[in-house]
Symmetry: C2
Subunit: 414 residues, 2 copies
């Protein structure tokens, strides 16, 4: 089947999916969870071949780990599907409504987006997550995973598709692109009229390639150059705990911190101990002139450093004049993801939260909380760093749109 | 100034605009209205040059009419700005919020999108409308109007920009692209990081060119191949009134009807009189075989006709087997704009409204009501025919996004 044919099947299925009951969808989600567990041997065998191929290509250990499936990871995937089944169904919610002066009733209801394309890398569990969330929100899915996980993903998608269809969802609702050719992505992201939105998940390079070349709408996710600004007179113990958490608890993820901004009047009291604690945690400091003068082991920061998502144990550190200078720095180098101020000043917290243009703006808490589960959404398909449609953690409602139902008794426009 | 420089100015202004008070914005809107009236002679002179140039190029009379400004039309533009000033400010609305188990408060608030690009054709009043709506919603604007109205638009934008700045809005909030080169559009729609969204308004060709070539997010507007389905046993007098209104009240607009679908069991009783009334209104019938057999003056419909937005007094007419066939036809040829069923059947109305995938789905009312003012929104920047971000009539809230403000007392992620 060509990718266009897959998209046509998905679009046809999406029309039916929009009208099936929550019961059928939840039954399908639980059936998919059962099937993943029942067929775990087949999944592990497929995964073993991917791992073998990765090792043969000298894939990095961290990538091998992301690619690896175990019984426990398969059990987590199944449990994730059951959790999605237990969430409230977003489809059909009446968002608002009114009766116009002429008697027409206008009802705004939540409906699925239609066909969602997901383009992702390495981790095979994304396959199960994305299928589950898209199905729950009444959408057909077209998945394009990375070539390194092609055997694992193909098997997972096949097992889940069969289970869902058996449970009563329309045939064709779940499409998996088996081609590992890059042209497949290009075709998928230009199928206007068939694909309603594409969500890329993965490296900045992947995301930029999709954003730059798509003609269907895209939701840009993920890249996070996140800052923490420590104000003068802040609770420095609190600031230290927040910085350590934001930088070191899981440095590879997008809500981890990349740059520490310190008020010039806080530098002498706060920085020496902070830098020592960071170094004790194996964090490489990349500093401006003042920081390098304070700490001989710091590497001088280049212009590029301020704009870089390190994704590991490196941290840029800069002294700024005041909260306004911090806000300006973030406007210039931030990626509109998650930004934090640590302060005792109500006025500065208020100004920072108002003026910083990002999905999540924190006062006195770690940026690591930017996450659909942490926010209590019960699910997450990604973190949007664009402003259109959805911003920040995206859960089920962000996979829907709305339509207006207008009912009358013969009204015409005067 | 290059277009990138204009966008940089707009982005810098947008940061300040996000934080100015509703009072300042409303004062600026009223000042812009005053300025348009005070300088109407200058606007009319500029417009006279555009009209002259249009006539020299043998521009169609209907286009000349769209281009023409009069004292009354300038007064309407000013009145529109005053109405926008009187609307509720969407910025800063608290959409929702919660306190997480760890004590963090999460507040979702409405904020401006940032920088909005508007690409449009012919009608100079769009310049005033777009500037007003974008300013009210706290956004900076970059306008690219059609070359045929360049003198009128430049003058209007100049007068409004000066008035807004004098009233206290940040310099650079309103950018007008004076170049009439098509490359200007291409540059504008690829300024990722500076332009947050582009809204094309105008012909299908313009919109497709923007959708196909943009890398910044686009809101697709406007093209409407709208259908009315007359069910068997419907109130045929009501159906006739709705069809006449939807087709002939203003045939050039996107919510006008292009195709009439008639249940086969309604054809004999309903169609002969309907076709006669349409012809009395100078509507050219383009019919399927059955319709052509009933009416010798009908032109046989081609495959292309079913997908065409005529925008004038032509109407495609087709007999269908039942409501399901009507839904299928609309899924195939509709543009997800506005669709209508005329019926007495509760079950068929319910099915049609559920299954038809369009921004506005009507039961027993004219599709001509798809309009921000008709819906009581108080404003309209366009009608979205895509599903991402906004659908149907877009007013002030659709020109905003949201962000999460998270406040705590030192929470870190376990």
């Amino acid at each position: 089947m060509t990718i266009r044919e897959q998209a046509e099947q998905a679009a046809a299925a999406a029309r039916k999916l929009a009208a099936i009951s929550p019961d059928v969808k939840n039954k399908a989600l639980n059936a998919m969870a059962d099937a993943l567990l029942a067929e775990k041997e087949a999944i592990l065998s497929a995964n073993a071949l991917d791992i073998e191929a990765g090792k043969a290509k000298n894939m990095k250990a961290s990538l091998i780990d992301r690619l690896l499936l175990t019984e426990a990871r398969i059990a987590d995937m199944a449990e994730g599907l059951r959790q999605v089944a237990s969430l409230r169904d977003p489809v059909g919610e009446i968002i608002s409504g009114s009766t116009l002066p002429n008697g027409l009733t206008v009802t705004k209801i939540r409906v699925p987006l239609g066909v969602i394309g997901i383009i992702y890398e390495a981790r095979p569990n994304v396959t199960a997550d994305a299928i589950g969330l898209c199905l729950k929100s009444g959408n057909a899915t077209i998945l394009k995973g990375g070539s390194e996980a092609i055997r694992s993903n193909t098997k997972i998608a096949e097992i889940m598709g069969a289970a869902a269809e058996k449970a009563g969802t329309p045939a064709g609702s779940i499409q998996f692109i088996t081609s590992t050719d890059h042209k497949a992505v290009q075709e998928l992201i230009t199928l206007n009229g068939l694909v309603d939105v594409v969500i890329p998940r993965g490296s900045g390079r992947l995301i930029q390639a999709v954003v730059g070349n798509a003609s269907v709408p895209v939701i840009e996710t993920g890249v996070g150059v996140c800052h923490t600004f420590v104000d003068a007179g802040a609770d420095y113990a609190m600031a230290e705990a927040i910085v350590i958490n934001a930088k070191t608890q899981r440095p590879s993820v997008c809500n981890a911190m990349e740059t520490l901004l310190v008020h010039k009047d806080a530098a002498a009291d706060f920085l020496p101990h902070m830098l020592q604690v960071l170094k004790d945690k194996d964090v490489q400091i990349i500093g401006d002139e003042t920081v390098c003068a304070m700490d001989a082991s710091a590497i001088p920061a280049t212009e590029e450093d301020w704009a870089t998502e390190y994704g590991d144990l490196r941290l840029s550190v800069k002294i700024v004049d005041d909260v306004d200078a911090a806000i300006d720095h973030i406007a210039r180098y931030g990626t509109k993801h998650s930004e934090c101020i640590v302060t005792r000043s109500f006025a500065n917290a208020r100004k920072f939260q108002q003026m910083v243009d990002a999905a999540c703006v924190y006062a006195n808490a770690s940026t690591r909380f930017t996450d659909g589960f942490q926010f209590g959404f019960g699910a997450e398909i990604g973190i949007s760093t664009q402003k259109l449609h959805a911003r920040g953690p995206m859960a089920l409602p962000e996979l829907t749109t709305y339509k207006y139902l207008i009912s009358g008794d013969g009204q015409v426009r005067p």
